[in-house]
């Protein structure tokens, strides 16, 4: 996985671009999508809560890496959506979109054998070929995602300024 900040900047940038086409996709819903972008990396909770402790509690082996898969993101998005007072379907769609963008970004990172992780689990164990674009500790990944988010930010702000000028005329 890339570091999480890059993932979240990419999720924010893509959802903001989509919001230019979808009127209902306001900034507050983009913020929901950004939270969804965190979901796959919840497997890192193992730093705080050791998997051994969870396994001991459940009485069977357990791996948090299941969160870093399509099935994990679907279930986490469902759980997250139920925490909203209303618009549960929209919340689910945005949380899932954020998580999916995260997984797709990870699907093109470098693997020594040239194949991505089994991120489509539990639907298939297929490992598709990866273009091996980056490794997670590349500072260039953060630089590129920051530049991308900055461009989207300025284009978005310009668009909103024009829109509010037209409305006031």
């Amino acid at each position: 996985m890339a570091e999480l900040l890059s993932h979240l900047l990419i999720v924010w940038g893509i959802l903001t671009i989509v919001s230019w086409r979808l009127e209902w996709l306001t900034r507050r819903w983009v913020a929901v999508g950004v939270i969804g972008g965190i979901f796959p990396d919840l497997n890192r909770l193992s730093i705080i809560v050791p998997e051994d402790a969870i396994s001991a509690f459940l009485g069977v082996p357990f791996q948090l890496d299941a969160f870093h898969t399509l099935g994990g993101v679907l279930l986490l998005s469902g759980l997250g959506a139920l925490l909203f007072a209303r618009n549960h379907r929209r919340a689910f769609a945005l949380l899932f979109s954020g998580g999916l963008i995260h997984l797709l970004t990870d699907a093109v990172k470098a693997y020594a054998d040239g194949y991505a992780a089994m991120w489509l689990y539990p639907f298939t164990n297929y490992r598709h070929p990866s273009p091996n674009l980056y490794v997670s500790a590349d500072p260039e990944v953060l630089v590129l995602s920051t530049v991308f988010a900055a461009i989207v930010f300025f284009v978005d702000r310009r668009g909103r300024t024009r829109q509010s000028t037209r409305t006031s005329e």
Binding site: E3, L4, L5, S6, H7, L8, L9, W12, R27, R28, A31, V32, V34, I35, I38, D41, R44, I47, D52, I54, S55, L58, V60, P61, F62, Q63, L64, D65, A66, F67, T69, G71, G72, L75, L76, G78, L79, L82, L83, F84, A85, R86, H88, A91, A110, Y111, A112, D113, G114, M118, Y121, P122, N125, R127, N132, V135, S136, A137, P139, L142
Partner: protein, 163 residues
């Protein structure tokens, strides 16, 4: 959606999520393309001649012998050591230091030796992991601040703040 139905659905999804984590752990060795670190620790000789993909911390770099030693972790937290016959380089110097993290794809030649086909340097040194954790922490804080700017918690669930 009524609160009771939401509560029931939440419990169902939570159980499903725990079940997914259990299934993931129980079936990983069978689903993974190569012998896992756990299988290689239990019966290394059984996998000699097979292709393997190892993820591990670099513990030694011997430039004279052109050998890279890495330590991989098994499911139960034990470590298993491998010696690869290639050191990844950048500008003719090793691209990774001791404490760095690499992926090595190759063929297992004996219980702990492998012929390298490809090495990917994930963390060039031990500090790179702290860089990722630090930057990721900043990401989480920014995302939470952005979310809390637009949403507030109520007894019914998250409600939009502005309008």
């Amino acid at each position: 959606m009524r609160l009771v139905i939401r509560g029931v659905l939440f419990v169902v999804l939570l159980v499903a999520l725990l079940g997914l984590g259990v299934h993931y752990a129980a079936t990983y060795d069978d689903r993974w393309t190569y012998p896992t670190e756990t299988e290689l620790e239990e019966s290394p000789e059984a996998h000699v001649g097979e292709d393997i993909l190892i993820f591990g911390v670099v513990t030694d770099i011997d430039t004279e012998a052109e050998e890279l030693t890495l330590e991989a972790e098994t499911d139960d937290g034990a470590t298993v050591e491998f010696v690869a016959d290639e050191i990844p380089t950048e500008d003719e110097t090793p691209a990774v230091e001791e404490g760095g993290f690499v992926q090595v794809y190759g063929t297992l030649e004996s219980a702990d030796e492998l012929t390298t086909t490809e090495t990917v340097v994930v963390n060039p040194d031990a500090l790179a992991e702290w860089y990722k954790l630090g930057v990721s922490g900043i990401g989480v804080l920014l995302a939470m601040a952005y979310f809390l700017y637009h949403w507030r918690p109520t007894t019914a669930g998250w409600e939009a703040k502005h309008g």
